[in-house]
Symmetry: C2
Subunit: 299 residues, 2 copies
Amino acid sequence: MTALWQRHPVGIVGLGLIGGSLGLDLLARGATVRALVHRQATADRARQRGLASEVSTDPAVLRDCALVVLALPLDRLLEPSAALLAALPPAAVITDVGSVKGPVLAAWTARLGPERASRFVASHPMAGTTQAGVEAGAAGLFRGRPWVATPGADTDPAALAVVAELAEAVGARWLTCAAADHDRAVALISHLPVLVSAALLQAADHGAAAAPALDAGAATLPQLVRLLASSGFADTSRVGGGNPELGMLMAQGNREPLLAALGQYRQALADLEQLVASESWPELLASLAEAQRLRPQFL
Amino acid sequence: MTALWQRHPVGIVGLGLIGGSLGLDLLARGATVRALVHRQATADRARQRGLASEVSTDPAVLRDCALVVLALPLDRLLEPSAALLAALPPAAVITDVGSVKGPVLAAWTARLGPERASRFVASHPMAGTTQAGVEAGAAGLFRGRPWVATPGADTDPAALAVVAELAEAVGARWLTCAAADHDRAVALISHLPVLVSAALLQAADHGAAAAPALDAGAATLPQLVRLLASSGFADTSRVGGGNPELGMLMAQGNREPLLAALGQYRQALADLEQLVASESWPELLASLAEAQRLRPQFL
């Protein structure tokens, strides 16, 4: 039996990195893709790039779509326009690609109402790059990457299967979990590192700020930290030196799990600091050996 | 005028990564290199690899050397053997390559006594790789890398110039600073990142430890953090997952500056956490923008 995306038009709302990449992959597999975008300039460029079979700024473009993918930024996903809600075909399976799942599931369950909410599948294809916008979409983006769905208690298993078929068609690795677990996981492995890394840059700068050089020819501490920082510092500070808007939106969208992750982190670092302060060298060695043992599990 | 290393034999004590690389570079430039190593097996292999003109386990090999480079691990540098001390030619300029400078300068000033201590030049070529041992030495290791000297109040400027000529001969970027500033700088940009990064691995593991999956088919939180961690997590956790012995020795050797750096870091992270907790989004955006602006200064 063929998948739903093969038998009916697929709607994509938003043609940024995720929406555009999905359009390219689905067209290459023979699907009919109807895309709704916000601005006329985006529609023009998306047509030139061939990101969808039909692109429009008119929500009516979603007519007859049996599956609609909401590929919107998190803020617009949480506050969808009335025109978009009205244009969604009543029987369609609807999914999203937001990086936070609890708030999205709650917002769309409330907006769609009990009967239609069972066909809403909260999901998160984890295929980020630093690119964004209508130029960013690229074929093959999802290949080998996780695509996490977070069904609620009332999610229709048939709707979940429709989205799983979509994810598998573009080569993603499908998995499901509770929305709360997804949000806790991305807080720990994606949002926490941004703050941990940004604080390192600030500590290196602020910690070196005060000291004058002792001799005329000697390097000052602010100069030294900049001259001596090597590849280890560069790696550890990379995500902290990234796009500030993105970091802020992540924190805003996943605030509670991020605060819990920060609490866990604070405790782990305090334990290490205590071992240094108390000169507990065998215990510090054991703790660093634990970190060394853990890392391959995350690669 | 030719440099001292061109006119007289150069002694190297220890033929690990730094000592072996220095031997290769100096031999390639026509120097006579006499190396003292601890074990006979190391001496045999060093001869096979051609790391020095003469290699021995007998301290007498250092006879007639006008410049001796102590390329020893930090613990052996801080507790040199009586045999080594006795074998150092009384008029020689002596330098070291230790990653911490205050304790080395203090230890060697005390051991050499007031007259000879003026010819001890504490220095730190910053050319680490993950390799170690007699197989690690490689030509060209120092090219373009900083070589920091930390002269004391009594250091003879002529001795300092001798070591500067050595550093420049192998292509390093020579700079000088106060020993305390060196140690504070490497605490901030080299030793602090190890603990910051190790704590991230531990937080991701411990923070995910408790939760069971809600459904039979669903991924658990400990599975999720491992499946969803991407390149950002890999980068931020790299140095924390490195050699635990090295991390422990760094902390031991530079404890006070590291504790000060940890204090600076704790404050920077607490400030970021407070902005998230109080939902101060414009201020969080400004703080992350500061981190973004800082990072290129450290690359």
